[in-house]
Every structure is written in C-alpha cells, then in structure tokens.
C-alpha cells in the first residue's frame, strides 16, 4: 500500500473530528438551553 492510505486516513480523521466536535457541542448547548 502506498502513501494514499495516510492521506485517506487523515481526511477521514478530519471529517470525524469535525462531526463529533460539532454535534457534541450542539447537543451540549441544546442541553444547557443556550443561545435562544
């Protein structure tokens, strides 16, 4: 396997990180009833 595996895993990692961070933070904020 070539270096493409590293590129792919890196891209996946960034997307997972963005997804879990944003949804987690949104749920947390929703729970605390902020913002609205």
């Amino acid at each position: 396997m070539g270096s493409w595996v590293i590129y792919m895993l890196f891209a996946w990692f960034v997307i997972f990180a963005m997804m879990f961070w944003s949804i987690g933070k949104l749920l947390e904020a929703e729970k605390q009833g902020q913002g609205s």
């Binding site: 070539g2 493409w4 590129y7 891209a11 996946w12 997307i15 997804m19 944003s22 949804i23 949104l26």
Partner: protein, 521 residues
Amino acid sequence: MEQQRDQWATKIGLILAMAGNAVGLGNFVRFPTQVAQNGGGAFMVPYFLALFFLGIPIMWVEWVAGRYGGKYGHGTLGPSYYLMARESLKPRSALIMGIISGMVAFAGVTLLNSYYLHLIGWSAAYTWFSITGAYFGKNTGQFFSNYLSNHTEVFLFWGITIVTIAIAVGRGVSKGIEKWVKVMMPLLYIFAIIMVGYVFVLGSPIDPNWSTLDGFAFIWTPNWAYLKAHFATVMLAAAGQIFFTLSLGMGIIQNYASYLGPNDDVALSGIATVSLNEFAEVVLGGSLAIPLATAYAPKIVPPDVLAQGKNAALAWIGHKFGLGFAYTSLPNVFVSMGQIGRFFGALWFLLLWFAGWTSAIAMYNYLVALFEEDLGIKRNVGTWLVLLIYFILGLPVIYIGLDKYVTPLDNWISFQLTLLALIDIIVAVYLFKPDNFWEELHKGAYVKIPTFYKWITLIVAPIFLLIPLIGTFKGFVSGGIPPTVGAVIIVMFIIGAIETYFAIKKKYGEEIEKNEVLIKV
C-alpha cells in the same frame, strides 16, 4: 417590520432535517462521477480546499441570509437579497441585485431537478431490476446503456417518481414522511457502512490486477500533473460538487434557515451540517462506486482502454456513462453476493431512491412556497405548476440523452452554483456590509468563529470562486453547451427573473418607484 413565522422546535431537529436532506444522490452518485471524470486524486485536492475555503463560509453566509430574510417574512432569495443589498444601494439598484440572485436560484433549482429527478427514477428502476435479477450475469455498463435507450421504461420510473413527489407535496404529508426518514436514513447510513467494509475486503473479484484498493489509491493519490493540465475545469468541478452536495448556491439553505428564530445559532449548526454531509460523501460515497468500478473494470471497459491503465479506465467509465457511473459499478457487488444479492440490491437502491425522493420533496416544496409566498399562487395550483415545469424540463433528458444533454447541463450546474455562491458573498456580505454579516453570524452563536474566517469569506473565497468562473466561462460560451441546453438555460433564467421581479415589486413596489427606502427594517 419583523414577522412571525413557523420556527424549528429544536436545533437538533433542524440539523437532522438538513442532514437528511443533504444525504442522497449527490454523495453516492454525483461525487464518484466527478472524481472519475476529473482525475481522481487531482480532484480531491481542490475539493478539500473548496470545502474549507468555500463550503463552510458560504454555508454560514446562506444561513445568515436565510435567517435574516425570515425575520422579515421572506423565505426566497429575491426579496431577502433585495433587503440585504439595500443596506448599501438605492432601492432600484438593490432591485437589480435581488433579481439577479432570485433568477440564478430559480434557474438552478429547476435545471438541477430536471435531471436529478431522473437519477431518482434510475434508482427506482434499479430497485426493480435487483428484485427481478435483470442485471445479474450481464455487463453492467451495457445493461445501463440499454436501459437508457428503452425510453418507455425510463419514462415510467421517472414518471412514478415525479408524480409521487407531487402527490406528497400537494397533500402536505411531510410530517408522515419525516417518520419514514427517521427509519430509512439511519438504515442507509448503516447499510453504506457495511458495504464500505465489504468493498475493503472484496479485493480482486475478477482479475488479480484490478482490485478495489486500486480504486482507493486512484482517489487518494494526489495527481498534480492532471490538476495542472486541467486547472480551471477541475477547480470548477470541485467547487460545484461542494455546492451541489451541501445544497448551496440554489436558495434551499436560505429557505430552511428562514424558519430559524432571530437569535438561533447558525455558526455551529453550519459546521454540523457540513461535517455530517462530508461523512456521507467522502467516507461512504467515496468508498463505494469508484473502488467497485476499478475492481469490475475488466468487465465494463473495452480492452484497448484497459491496456492504458486504471486512471484511463475510470475516466472512460466516468465520461461514457456520466452520472450513470454508480449505476454501472454498484450492481456488481450485489451480483457477487449470489441470489441474496437481489434482496440487498433492492434494499440499497430503494434506500437511495428514498434519500433522493425526500431531497426532491424539499426542493419541490421550495418552488411551491416560492409561487405561494412571492406571487400569491395557491398551493394546489403551485404544486401542479411545478409538476408541469419538471415534466417539460425532464423530457429532453429522456429523448436527447446523457452525452448531449445531461452531462453538459450538469457541468453548467457546477458553474451556476459557483456563480450564485459569488453573488451570495457580493450581496449578503459586501452589500449587507461585512461587519453586519459578522455580527449577524454571531447572534445566538454557540461558538466564536476565528476572525481569520472573516477574511477567508471576504478575500479568499471570492478569489477562489472567480478563478474557475473566469477560467471556464469561455469554454461554455464557445460551444461547451449544446444549443438545446443553452436555450433551456436561457428560458429558465428569463422565467426566474420575471418571477423575482414581481416578488420584490409586490412588497417593495412603492419604494422602488420613489427610489428611496420607505419600509424600514
């Protein structure tokens, strides 16, 4: 003059609705086609740049614009952008900006749906073909071509799709559909994850030199030489795909966001919807059709093209079958499962059909709302009017076909979505005034957005948008668009402009006449 409209009960409800809307054929059908047509790893570099420098900021711009318009009772682009442009321009000049925005959005949604609804119809057809085992034991590329040349069959499955959508919209059964979405969309995600696992271990099902892993290598190995040789085209394709998949550049996001409360978060919600969609697109959509097309290429691609290597073989499938790319590669995986593959194939294409169908309902609803809200046309009349537009626009897809109609129109859609994204920045950021935009973005925000993103939105994004727009415009006007496609585009622009003009004039006619602001916001 703030107006009270229906609002989303919870932010998570809105996010799930938008994620459900975003997940669909853009991820599993259009994305792999674009990757194959644009040099694999050559496409992924500008794709990720477009995601961070265009997708995220434009998503914020459209959420802000939608929420702002909703505050004054507008869910459509023309009147909202008229109001925003009026912050810097006199009413008559603002009217021009409103008309341009509304015109491009209207043409975008209608033109996009003219072939998007066909892709949904193809999914319905492949559900049936899986049940009957019609493509089992056949060359799936040839099978797809034969299907498209059988106009009666294509008409039937497309007809079923648009009529059921019209009925669902006309009867206002969106609540009932939401219950199905809650079951079907997680099922699509789970099924796709299992399929990705299967694709990784599938290896080389028919020829040891052609493996699914080679398909992953095609996507994830940066191809600088190809990118350099086709710079503007690949940039436009990447930006267009980001906008298509995130439903940006067509007025849909603004319409959703117009139902937000004036102090509801848009900053974090924007990132959440982008990341959910990117998971479906890059992680799931990117791991299915292309690896499968690579592994089964010896079955689909002519020997002389195969001899040129994997990149050439995938480019050949991408150009020969266009948006049919996924329909020529995915069925093979179900064939490899034996008879049980009929069940899984039917389930997969049914889920895909449903994902597309629900997205199409959202866009259909937008057009009906546009006629209702802007022009006072009754909902049931609007429903039939949209059906008529879709019907007329969908006919050339069947009778003119993939090469001469769908592919050039789809390429134009990339251009048009990118164009509206530029208009978004001009109107909703520059004319609305950058400080107003930044302040609006942070109203009720759950996160503080780093200031450098303001500069990305103001400087980097417009340059990023202008490069492919300028670089490809000449190609479009000097024969890149067949005359029939060009004529349809012009007609939709004219209808869009007229519709938007009356929509704005209906509410702001007097101040446009006097060319001074009478209705304060």
